[in-house]
Amino acid sequence: MDRREVLAERPVEKSRGFMPGVSVNPSRVLFTAGLTGRNPDGGLVAGGMAAQTQRTFERLRAILSRAGAKFDAVVKQLVYVTDIEAYNASGRPERAKFFEGTRTASTGLVVRRLADPAMLIEVELVVDLPGSPSRTSLLEKYNVEDHGGDFHQGVIVNGGRLLYLAGQVANSPDGSVAGVGDWGRQAEKVYENIGHVLRAAGATPATVVKETTWVLSIDAWRRHGPPVRRAFYKGDFPASTLVEIPGLARPEFLVEIEVIAAVA
């Protein structure tokens, strides 16, 4: 809990209610999954962007609250929307009610599709938690809802060292692409690469904190990716986000996955 706001007076960011940069002494850090406007039954809340934004931040508030934090501890937000006009008109004002005066580092993206085609917004947060690292475990993974999905809604890193991986794609060491046009093979290769890098850094799949999966087609990914992913994590899932976008660095790539892990 040693938050420093960087270039707080820079007018462009100030007028938009965020901060160019936020730095912390990382002692306990919470990463949330990408949260959306789902109801407890799994369906989307009715009422469009305003209602989905409100519901998204209510759910994030519950995740923060479980970790003993409020929105004033948020360091970074990543907001994915499918309709920027709707977000500007009716999402932003709802978001502002939760953050009040707190300004976080922020990135906003317009993507092609989220988990459900009717989803308009998804938000993930990085949070600087109060308190000292517990000595019991490096990671605390938890859910505040019984969502039944293969992810945790919040993962706390208790001390330790954060590990940032480049986005991993289905490339072989010789530079060739494995599984051109083949979702299952690319999924295998991507997780194989993630495994190699984690091992080289002294981490394991169980110490992955946050995962972002960028795919060219959520429908195709859902047919081929989840079995490979489940075998990799063996039930010990990170906080995660799944987003559909129109392209990756090479036309052959169907999926790119980036992970943040922790090492004691």
Partner: protein
């Protein structure tokens, strides 16, 4: 250095960037997605991805320097572009500003950024 670089022969990067970085000490700085605007919020290089990339990386450097770091402090960058055909120009602008190897890196083509005139946005995490 407040962070170390991880490399393994079994999984190699597809371009000139680090495969992974591990924080070893120091402060962690989260930098907002930077775009090509000047300090008054005017877009620099409308329609010109090369000019936008230069301004974007300048803005990124500005945030890092304000906290006592520089581009070399970055552990991870994520570059979002709106048109894949812009990637070569972005890659070139990027290698002009980074000395040597890039940080751990992700490149994503998104549908758009939060204003239709922006062609590139770059966010990063740095150890300082």
């Amino acid at each position: 250095m407040p962070f170390s670089t991880i490399a393994t022969p079994e999984a190699k990067p597809v371009a000139n960037y680090k495969m992974a970085t591990r924080l070893e000490g120091g402060r962690l700085l989260y930098v907002s997605g930077q775009v090509a605007w000047d300090t008054n919020g005017n877009i620099v290089g409308k329609g010109d991805v090369r000019a936008q990339a230069r301004q974007t990386f300048e803005n990124l450097r500005g945030v890092l320097r304000a906290e006592g770091g520089d581009l070399s402090s970055l552990m991870k960058v994520t570059t979002y572009i709106t048109r894949i055909e812009d990637f070569p120009a972005v890659a070139q602008a990027r290698s002009e500003v980074f000395q040597g190897e890039l940080p751990a890196s992700t490149l994503i083509v998104v549908k758009s950024l939060f204003h239709p005139d922006f062609l590139i946005e770059v966010e990063g995490v740095a150890a300082i």
